[in-house]
């Protein structure tokens, strides 16, 4: 995977001599000598060109997995949650593990769009579009699990404050209801954010469309966008406001998910560090998934000039930082469990590390705490193959983290007589595997029909997009107003 073309991008950094006054030359965000027009050609070209054979292969595979999901969910609705491996102490099994896993992954997209936008990190422009798409699809997968976990999904509307003939209202004091609100609001806001970002690019597709059908569809979706400054000025502020609203929202979502556990009084669940710890874990897993997908997509569609090794390195750094935060939380939890002097707290943590689920615990620690430490080395974090492999390990580790938290605490709680070991049934596994089918089907459709990189934003970070750039100074007279 180490493409020699990418490696040359790093050359300027070393060439800057260390004499006084020299600043580190910033690696250009977009490699190659791209013009505005070549960006349009390259990115729209993916959608307008013929469908690659490989796409069909992957799509058929994803749809097959999706069919497994449809089958296993269908059987679940027919038969009930008894088909899962749930037992008496472990009432929450894989379904909730998968829910938290997918919601976690769904954190990177909005984080990249919103938080990095607020921090003026321009490198986000190359990855935000498909990271947001990934967010939306991951949240769809996440929403699926609690939905089917309720058992009787035909009364799902009880979750919402809809006036009804039973005069019954939802319990707003329950963390599970907060989940319903937090995750569905998160989904809605992410979708709005994504759509707003898409409008100028859809206008490009409209203006390039050859057939009448495409013109109409893209025409409607782009709302008559004319790239006018009287649009952009509201658009820019609107985007900034959405970023400002999404930032606390994205941090709140996983905090709310953490309250599902932390408001209870189960040892290993009831601990005050859970909200920020879950948020750090979510960003960690989300970036790992973006990394995995970015490496595949840039290779498959030849986008190495847009998603450079520099971009991947920056993501690797974020993975490392959030990995350290997760490691911090593991250690503090362990220490405070001991410090509390409470027998149940102490037992829970010793049981995690040495009990029947020790294998899962150590997978979690190795993948989430030890593996990201490789990213301290610049050599490793700029090697695409290494990044790809390590990002997958992080994805695995974060699934196991949720598994450890949920299962180990439930399977051995206060009363030893009710302890039991939990293992999943074939239907648990099928549903989980099938959810990847749903995710990848949606993701492949996105890659085929919408621009995977934001053209308007990438054009905006090219040096020639800045009207005050030195290259324009010689021709015209100096600006009167800055």
């Amino acid at each position: 995977m180490g493409n020699p073309v990418n490696m040359t991008n790093h050359k300027p950094k070393q060439s800057a001599d260390s004499s006084a006054g020299a600043i580190i030359e910033e690696t250009p965000l977009i490699a190659g000598n791209h013009t505005f027009s070549s960006i349009t050609e390259k990115i729209s070209g993916v959608i307008e060109g013929p469908t690659p054979k490989m796409w069909w292969v992957l799509f058929s595979f994803s749809v097959s997995l999706l069919l497994i999901l449809v089958g296993s969910v269908g059987f679940l609705i027919w038969e009930g949650t008894g088909i899962w491996g749930l037992n008496s102490p472990v009432g929450w099994g894989w379904a909730i593990v998968n829910f938290v896993f997918w919601v976690g992954i769904g954190h990177a997209g909005t984080l990249i769009s919103a938080v990095l936008h607020l921090f003026r990190q321009k490198w986000r422009t190359s990855i935000n579009r498909f990271a947001e798409a990934m967010t939306i699809f991951a949240v769809i997968c996440a929403l699926l699990f609690p939905t089917i976990h309720v058992g009787r999904i035909w009364v799902l509307y009880w979750f919402f404050p809809i006036p009804n003939q039973m005069s019954m209202w939802p319990n707003f004091r329950s963390p599970l209801l907060w989940d319903v609100f937090a995750v569905s609001i998160y989904f809605t806001v992410s979708l709005l954010f994504w759509y707003v970002g898409l409008v100028p690019d859809i206008a490009t597709l409209r203006d390039r469309a050859k057939t009448r059908g495409k013109k109409i569809i893209y025409g409607i979706l782009s709302l008559g966008w004319r790239g006018a400054n009287r649009h952009w000025r509201h658009y820019e502020l609107g985007y900034l406001i959405l970023a400002g609203l999404s930032t606390p929202l994205v941090l709140s979502v996983h905090s709310v998910v953490s309250t599902d556990f932390a408001t209870s009084i189960i040892p290993g669940w009831h601990t005050t560090i859970f909200p920020p710890y879950f948020v750090a874990g979510a960003i960690f897993s989300g970036f790992a998934m973006v990394m995995t997908l970015a490496i595949i997509a840039r290779k498959a569609f030849g986008m190495e000039e847009f998603i450079t090794v520099n971009h991947l390195e920056k993501m690797a750094k974020i993975i490392m930082v959030t990995g350290l935060m997760v490691g911090y939380a593991y250690s503090i939890e362990f220490f405070i469990a001991w410090y509390s002097g409470n027998d149940y707290e102490r037992f829970t943590f010793i049981n995690r590390a040495l009990g029947p689920y020790a294998w899962a615990y150590w997978i979690m620690v190795s993948c989430n705490v030890i593996i990201p430490q490789f990213f301290w080395s610049k050599k490793l974090r700029t090697n695409v193959t290494v990044l790809f492999i390590l990002s997958i390990f992080v994805n695995i580790g974060m699934w196991f983290e949720r598994f450890v938290i949920i299962t180990s605490s439930l399977s051995r709680d206060y009363l030893p007589s009710s302890w039991d070991y939990y293992s999943p049934s074939i239907w648990d596994i099928a549903t989980f595997v099938g959810s990847f089918g749903l995710f990848f089907t949606l993701f492949l459709l996105f890659l085929r029909f919408l621009p995977m990189i934001s053209m308007a934003e990438v054009k905006g970070v090219l040096p020639q997009a800045d009207p005050h750039h030195p290259m324009y100074q010689k021709s015209g007279e100096a600006h009167e107003n800055k």
């Binding site: 600043i23 941090l251 905090s255 309250t259 932390a262 350290l324 503090i332 939890e333 410090y339 509390s340």
Partner: protein, 391 residues
């Protein structure tokens, strides 16, 4: 590139340093009198003042670490100001000594008879004992002192990229140590005041307040320098706006973390945990707690929301002073309810210890500022920092 000469950026002679030391001496005198009169009150007041000021130095240290780790260029022209606040860490190490003497007045667990008679506390004895407590504090200060010494000496000769990269390396590793030491320091100095109580988020919660007020201190020192007509063009409203944004972000962060702690304990409703909040909800403590939310979150949140507010130094500094009030309340609220059960009971020693430590703090900051140019003149990013603009 404009060349700047060293001399024009040295701080001219002024009275601020002298003023600080005079105030400090008055504070020390009064506090000594307080110590003779009521040692119990003195040690508790001293602890409040101490954690107030030490968290501010630690917050500034974190500001410096983040400046290097993220490679931020906008804050280059502020770097010497930040470093001068970090320079108070050795002072803070010395000022810890009275706490070591007051250990029996402050910490219940330091009495061996108490530990022996309480099963829960006996289980914690390997950690909560006087010797280990002092050793740990020593370790914290060695680590903080080492990080700040290293960054300061590297900063002195910053000329090239390699210097910047080596500061980045020190900071990256330093941040890891910082996170652990600050958390444990807060567990030790504050959480163990009530040795039965525990909360995993406690370190993050105090870190949030520390960083927030570290930023506030940076703004206030700049305001003080501006009042002497210094740094007129080097630190601009663009910098205030960035500092204001950080301040806003960490007002929210502090509120989020402290609300999480409260909320989960309130919801779980386990007596051994709720007792801590119960103590802070009795008598006049309730009004104190509620006003802390107003002063520390609601007012600064709405005040800092607007762009114009962040770009006006006078307004921004008054918000910083308000945040200092909130931070003092926060520290008081963490330390005192165990000592003054039932009702808030303010003492003049609370004020005298704050003044004594504050005077020494400012004196150290000022001496450090006077020792070299106010901005890092040789830093290759300096011009970029000065001309930086928010969009």
């Amino acid at each position: 590139m404009t060349s700047r000469s060293e001399n024009t950026y040295m701080m001219p002679a002024n009275n601020y340093g002298k003023l600080a030391i005079v105030i400090a001496l008055i504070g020390i005198l009064l506090s000594t009198f307080g110590f003779v009169k009521d040692p119990g009150q003195f040690f508790h007041s001293y602890l409040v003042a101490y954690v107030f000021w030490v968290t501010i130095s630690l917050g500034a240290l974190f500001f410096l670490l983040m400046h290097h780790v993220t490679g931020a260029f906008w804050s280059v022209s502020l770097r010497h100001v930040v470093e001068s606040i970090v320079a108070t860490i050795p002072l803070m190490a010395i000022l810890w000594i009275p706490i070591g003497f007051g250990i029996h007045d402050l910490y219940h667990w330091s009495h061996e008879s108490v530990m022996a008679s309480d099963k829960l506390l006996a289980a914690k004895a390997p950690y909560l004992n006087t010797t280990f407590f002092v050793i740990r504090t020593l370790i914290y200060f060695i680590i903080w002192g080492f990080i700040s010494y290293k960054l300061r000496s590297l900063s002195k000769r910053t000329k090239s990229n390699n210097d910047i990269l080596s500061m980045r390396k020190v900071s990256a590793v330093g941040t890891v140590f910082y996170a652990l030491t600050v958390s444990f320091a807060m567990f030790d100095w504050l959480m163990s005041l009530d040795p039965h109580w525990y909360s995993t988020i406690y370190g993050v919660y105090l870190f949030g307040g520390a960083y927030l007020n570290g930023i506030a201190m940076v703004i206030l020192v700049i305001a003080a320098l501006k009042s002497l007509n210094l740094l007129t063009t080097e630190v601009t409203s663009e910098h205030y706006q960035d500092l204001g944004k950080l301040l806003f972000g960490f007002v929210v962060f502090w509120a989020y973390i402290s609300a999480s702690q409260y909320f989960l304990i309130w919801y779980g409703n386990i007596p051994e945990e709720t007792i801590w909040f119960k103590r802070r909800w009795e008598g006049t403590w309730k009004a104190f707690s509620l006003s802390m939310i107003a002063v520390g979150f609601i007012v600064p949140f709405f005040a800092l929301m607007f762009r114009a507010a962040k770009r006006n130094l006078v307004f921004l500094s008054s918000i910083c002073l308000l945040l200092f009030v909130a931070h003092w309340m926060d520290m008081y609220w963490n330390v005192m309810p165990g000592f003054h059960r039932g009702n808030v009971s303010l003492s003049w020693i609370d004020l005298s210890t704050m003044v004594a430590l504050g005077g020494l703090f400012f004196w150290t900051v000022w001496r450090s500022l006077a020792s070299r140019s106010l901005i890092p003149l040789n830093d290759p990013y300096l011009n970029k920092s000065i001309s930086h603009k928010n969009f």
